[in-house]
Symmetry: C2
Subunit: 148 residues, 2 copies
């Protein structure tokens, strides 16, 4: 079985997508992260949900975490306000999470080796520069456990 | 809203759980990772699916990734064979992923600050030393986006 056969459809956004819609997608589908492609459709980064939650935290709490405890609920930054009119590009952390990329004809061992090395729960499957789909680590385990 | 109200039921294994059953849980529920507790029920680590996939990769390929491409499908290590009779403890990477822990009465800002700082897609909610539940980053985003 090749990577292209293991791949599943997975939501993808571009760097120019609406930030709020991307975050809604993470929330609605309960995703740990989402693949981001550049203008040409080539996967360039992952937007991890764990990084988006920092937009809930006011800047002065990010600078001094001990202040978090004294904030009341209503003082949490309204994420919808913060993201309005922004693009996905502005959400990406400065040290961008590189998206592990595997080729469409890679084997299960090659995909597993790439994922384990980069410690990433998903890999983008490409044919040339085009995104074919995404393989999650749990999908790989499911295939490996299935009777042959 | 406090962390204990945000928490969801989430599968948990102990360090002494059967390794194969834990991996089956990751695969069946398509989880990016699972919380591991010690003998006393206190969360001590996370078992990431991205680390379990390394058991698909023969040792000599881990040492020399260029060999992965020359392996045929049937030469992939059988994960079920490798895990038989082992415990979860043996699956945990040497540099264990510390599980971010929040207190049951922490606010959404405190949980978000902890998650963002540790770049982890989930946090364990504890009351004293007891695990109350788990909050994922995407669950936090869902709560933050909900109309108040």
């Amino acid at each position: 079985m090749h990577a292209s056969q293991m791949a599943e459809e997975f939501p993808v956004v571009t760097v120019d997508s609406d930030a709020l819609e991307a975050v809604q997608l993470l929330a609605d589908r309960r995703l740990p992260g989402i693949v981001v492609t550049d203008e040409t459709g080539c996967p360039c980064s992952i937007l991890p949900a764990s990084q988006v939650v920092r937009f809930l935290v006011p800047r002065y709490v990010q600078d001094d975490p001990s202040l978090a405890g004294v904030l009341s609920e209503s003082m949490a930054d309204r994420i919808a306000d913060k993201l309005a009119g922004k693009t996905v590009k502005t959400l990406l952390p400065d040290d961008k999470t590189e998206v592990p990329t595997v080729q469409a004809d890679d084997t299960i061992v090659e995909v597993a080796a790439t994922m384990a090395r980069l410690r990433c729960p998903l890999a983008a499957v490409v044919a040339g520069r085009d995104l074919v789909g995404v393989i999650t680590a749990s999908r790989l385990l499911e295939l490996a456990l299935a009777p042959r």
